[in-house]
């Protein structure tokens, strides 16, 4: 949607060719009519407020950018309070402000950590202050020398029974807390993870609430060293966040600031476990990963929206003798790179919606003390997180390339979109209960698959997203019956080959591991193969959830038909990309692979007239997109031209430095000085 204004709509022709109800597609994308309405309202609220402007963000210095972020955060809070926004509305408002800042960690990590790991008493004490922003909190886990491996953290919290206090200390340089967002400059408090030591014994990593800065003048408390860790990838992007460094020099906190829901240290210094089951914490992990998958579909859809619209505007070649050029969106090569990304945006959106349901289901089961589905939910969300974030980062960069040279300009929005997104690949949000690296996460999925394969062999029936493994007899030997290109339109045909591929790759790994001298050695040697098997399993989940979505009632003329095409494109482009998997496991023949490719070409042609409308259905304002190339009205070139003049370098016609460094060169004064 446009933010308003009366420019001519250069994309009107594209919109007229759509063969489906865009409004219905908006509902399918957003999840409900209500979701469309509230998102639309919040997006327009942000877009129309001059404080939230971001068109010159990439030109700001680090200090200006950080100050601007503080300003926007305060203004957002003011609007949230003034307008008495609901939590849903407030979250959406923050989303559309679209500038990373300390509030993300305050609401996204600090508050949930206290809720999840604090006792009721602790929650009563700290949460009201946090809710009112009387304190600002962050989540201090990772250290300079220790990222994903929580068990390797070095910071210590040593109990001193004489004072009933913990002594927080950073014993080495590598134990410096490093990366936590909001830590560097904004936060007054942190949940700090440290090795709990009491009675001379190391009880491993626990969380502690630690005040870092004075509430009077914001200066660091005695013994606390705080700073920002420096510039990060891109202009604007994540540089609005004060990722921080923190060192403790024997800083004392009261005993009751240890988060004590799962375990406690008594007045005497005894370490005791509570009877709260540890599994409760996994619920949070499922929640966080679900939001990360949802974020992937948001970031990907923004990039795709920009690339599709600009590909309809941009013209190139098509005529040898100076006649009109062709829209690049008409080129098969452009379609074959762009439309699978469009399909992926929808695929991730729907698997994200399913994960929302899964989280509710897991929560209910946890409350009923049913932990049976946790391992599967844990592995499946970890895998989905890993696969969708990696693919999304690559896809944003691909969208940038698909916009040609202009995609390299900050005004295209794509460099910032990429730079701000990529941390999602490395971290679970840079700051999550378990900071797991992509490879580690997939490893986890792989191990889970191996376990399941072993269990299936003993006759145990798997459930959830691994239920298909129970069908092992059929899947190990089935041959696809596809005989024409159109046979690949059948969801059952797709599902069968994706299931067979995933299962056969897992079984191959299991067999090869069993040949190794030890299981650990086998795991280590075969880890690259295991990762590929895990990816195959996760791709199957995404394909399956897309197919299941299409079995629901989806209102609006033509909406379901378009989604069916996108689902086929999503699955078949994966089949083409991983053709080696499908062929080497004998799931399909070379001819069936060629038929899939043939169908893909036809589907691209069918999506072509609907492409612009399919990205309109994301319902993004020009403000949120933040891209001259992705403008709703398509009036790209005058806007690009206008943006250029805003660069500080254009403040003077003759550049600063001319007198000192250019004029002497041109006047040969440099050379003469030598003679």
């Amino acid at each position: 949607m446009a933010d308003g204004g009366g420019e001519p709509d250069q994309l009107a022709g594209e919109r007229a060719t759509a063969q489906f109800d865009v409004d219905g597609m908006k509902v399918a994308w957003a999840g409900s009519r209500h979701a469309v309405e509230v998102a639309d309202r919040m997006a327009r609220l942000v877009a129309s407020d001059p404080v939230f402007r971001k068109d010159t963000r990439t030109m700001l210095s680090r200090k200006e950018l950080f100050k601007d972020t503080l300003k926007k955060a305060a203004h957002a809070w003011k609007r949230i309070v003034e307008l008495r926004l609901t939590e849903e509305e407030a979250n959406l408002l923050r989303l559309y402000v679209d500038q990373p800042g300390y509030v993300d960690l305050h609401w996204g990590m600090f508050v949930p950590a206290i809720k999840g790991q604090g006792t009721e008493e602790q929650q009563k004490k700290w949460l009201p202050m946090a809710y009112k922003f009387q304190i600002i909190g962050c989540y201090a886990q990772t250290e300079l020398g220790h990222g994903s491996n929580v068990q390797g953290l070095e910071t210590t919290a040593t109990f001193d029974p004489s004072a009933d206090e913990f002594v927080m200390h950073s014993p080495t340089l590598t134990s410096s807390k490093w990366w936590p967002g909001g830590l560097g400059k904004a936060s007054t408090h942190a949940v700090v993870y440290a090795r709990l030591i009491t009675e001379g014994k190391d009880y491993g990593i626990h969380g502690f609430i630690v005040q870092l800065r004075s509430l009077d003048d914001h200066s660091p408390l005695p013994g606390v060293t705080l700073g920002d860790i420096g510039g990060k990838f891109g202009s604007g992007a994540y540089n609005s966040m004060d990722n921080g460094v923190l060192r403790f020099d024997h800083v004392r906190i009261p005993r009751d600031q240890m988060l004590m829901r799962l375990s406690q240290v008594t007045r005497e210094g005894k370490y005791v476990h509570s009877d709260v089951p540890k599994q409760l914490l996994y619920g949070t992990m499922v929640y966080v990963r679900q939001t990360i998958v949802a974020d992937a579909s948001k970031a990907l859809s923004r990039a795709v929206c920009i690339a599709v619209r600009y590909s309809a505007i941009r013209k190139q070649f098509g005529s040898q003798d100076g006649g009109p050029e062709t829209q690049v969106l008409n080129y098969k090569t452009q379609q074959s790179r762009l439309f699978p990304l469009l399909a992926s945006a929808y695929a991730y959106r729907f698997v994200g919606q399913w994960l929302k349901w899964l989280y509710t289901d897991v929560t209910q089961k946890l409350e009923a003390k049913d932990y049976s589905t946790l391992p599967e939910a844990h592995a499946c969300t970890a895998g989905l997180k890993s696969v969708t974030t990696s693919a999304t980062a690559d896809a944003i960069e691909e969208c940038r390339k698909l916009c040609g040279g202009h995609g390299y300009l900050n005004s295209s929005g794509l460099p910032e979109l990429f730079a701000v997104y990529v941390p999602a690949c490395t971290y679970e949000g840079d700051n999550v209960v378990l900071l797991l690296q992509v490879s580690v996460v997939l490893h986890l999925v792989a191990r889970f698959l191996m376990k399941t394969v072993a269990q299936v062999a003993t006759g145990k029936q798997p459930v959830g997203t691994i239920a298909y493994m129970g069908n092992i007899q059929h899947l190990m030997q089935c041959k696809s019956a596809v005989n024409t290109a159109e046979d690949w339109l059948n969801p059952a045909a797709i599902k069968e080959v994706f299931e067979a591929r995933a299962l056969r790759m897992a079984v191959n790994c299991a067999q090869n591991i069993s040949k190794a001298p030890s299981q650990e050695e086998g795991f280590s040697e075969l880890s690259p193969d295991l990762l590929e098997a895990a990816v195959a399993h996760v791709q199957l989940i995404i394909v399956t959830k897309f197919i299941e979505k299409l079995q629901e009632d989806i209102p609006g003329p033509g909406v379901k038909e378009q989604l069916q095409k996108l689902c086929s494109i999503y699955a078949l482009h994966l089949l083409h990309k991983h053709l080696g998997d499908f062929l080497s496991t004998g799931c399909i023949t070379a001819r069936q692979g060629a038929l899939a490719n043939e169908l893909l070409g036809k589907l691209y042609a069918q999506v072509r007239p609907n492409a612009v409308a399919l990205v309109d259905a994301f319902d993004y304002t020009d403000h949120y997109l933040g891209s001259v190339l992705g403008r709703y009205d398509g009036d790209v070139y005058p806007a690009l031209y206008e943006e250029a003049w805003k660069d500080p370098l254009n403040e003077t016609v003759v550049p600063d430095g001319y007198q000192e460094h250019l004029r002497p060169l041109l006047k040969q004064q440099l050379k003469l000085s030598r003679l």
Copy 2:
């Protein structure tokens, strides 16, 4: 090599395990003993000069960065003149200064354009001024609405016989020159490409030398609008370059400023061709692409050097109970992602060395008026440019991810390395005789392959990199004889399957095109398949040139053995990645594919102890690498910690903006204001 200093060498243990002569490898990499020596000398000259420091470059504002670039360019010129450097030395000095700027375009595009397209008289007039920097030139081809398609340019140069002048004009907004480096702020002159119109007729695109700015005060001449086009991807990176916008409002230049080597306009306005063959221009294209491939190996090797060294320093997991963690370089998953990139760096280096020879060969043949090998050289260099630049951009980003979270910090050097490199994928240097997009280039290769396939069918024997197609009888039906993993160590086994794959994919395309209603329609419909066939052909060239390199005498104990392993890794990782190609064309069986994968795992283990020494052989100074993570001495963590404090945000403990935007929030003044 270290720049000097006495830090402990944390990587000494890694260096001690190397099984080859690093010095010998340096010679193999650089091409000769002389090349090692001169590069080393120039690199140290730059690294030891405080003016060339770049460690705070990403923190500079756009204006500061641009001024810094002017300063470095002037200082470099001063040193070149003072030290009476040879052209080879001067080029290396500029390379190691490592900051894009107007001089790149002056030497790389403006001077060669006049040399290649100017008459002897024109060269005599303009080149001496350019050589002495009395004028600064750039290359103004692309326009706001027209990138790769030179024929679509709109700028006009209309001959006015009454004044014996051309009138340069920008008739539309989209005809604004857009992107040329050095144009925005620095250049005094440009070679401008425009439609030549004389006697009422449009003769297409020609080059003109146009003065843009006053040589007295650097202000734009009347009728000339000049500016910078705005910020680009990343901090630092290409923002040191003043990519510019240029509009003409009926600007007049003398007739003799049209570049007239190939065609002229007479005093009366007649358009006439000279007898200089057009093919001469292709020599320049081959030259430019050869440098682009060489640049790819440089950029890739820098990223790989950083990632390999830091992977030897960084430790993670490996022990459940708090014992010492494992170097990430020991993980198979890390090796399987990183070592193929290490192998690719060497592969691109050697194919680049071969291209240097090819350029000499083409030049000699052109001088002898032998144009027979031009089409092949044209297609092959275009393809190599396209494949190596795309793979390099992806690889730099992969290296960044392989460094974990710290790779996201500017101090890692990887964000800037990526952001400054990616334009190479979109442009032939952003500013080349023929600006061709990746897909367009591969299309060209594909068309060339189709033509060759057709010719082979009629019995014509192909030469050069397509000679293998003459072996069509064998290659269309051969089956690989590989029976054990070690059989894949045989270069002939590798070459056969890569040749068979490339040829069969090309023949498949040709057959499918012949079924289309028309050849043009077939080309259009099958273009995604054609691109894949072209990539297969180009990968074959790279593999072949690596194998041929190994047939040469390569001195130094163990040097050739290491290169043989890297060659196998390069080829086999491609085979694994494109397994679908090899299986679907029946070149290998699934079992042979699995054997290749098995061998890959063994080769990774063999390369492991040599990995750090293999990147040492690139012989990069810490200054040139520009990465805290890639330091020669491996002393990463203290350096990371120290770098952080340089960020402007750390100038004050309490951040700018606290009083206005944080304190009111914390003190509840925002909320109270509502009540």
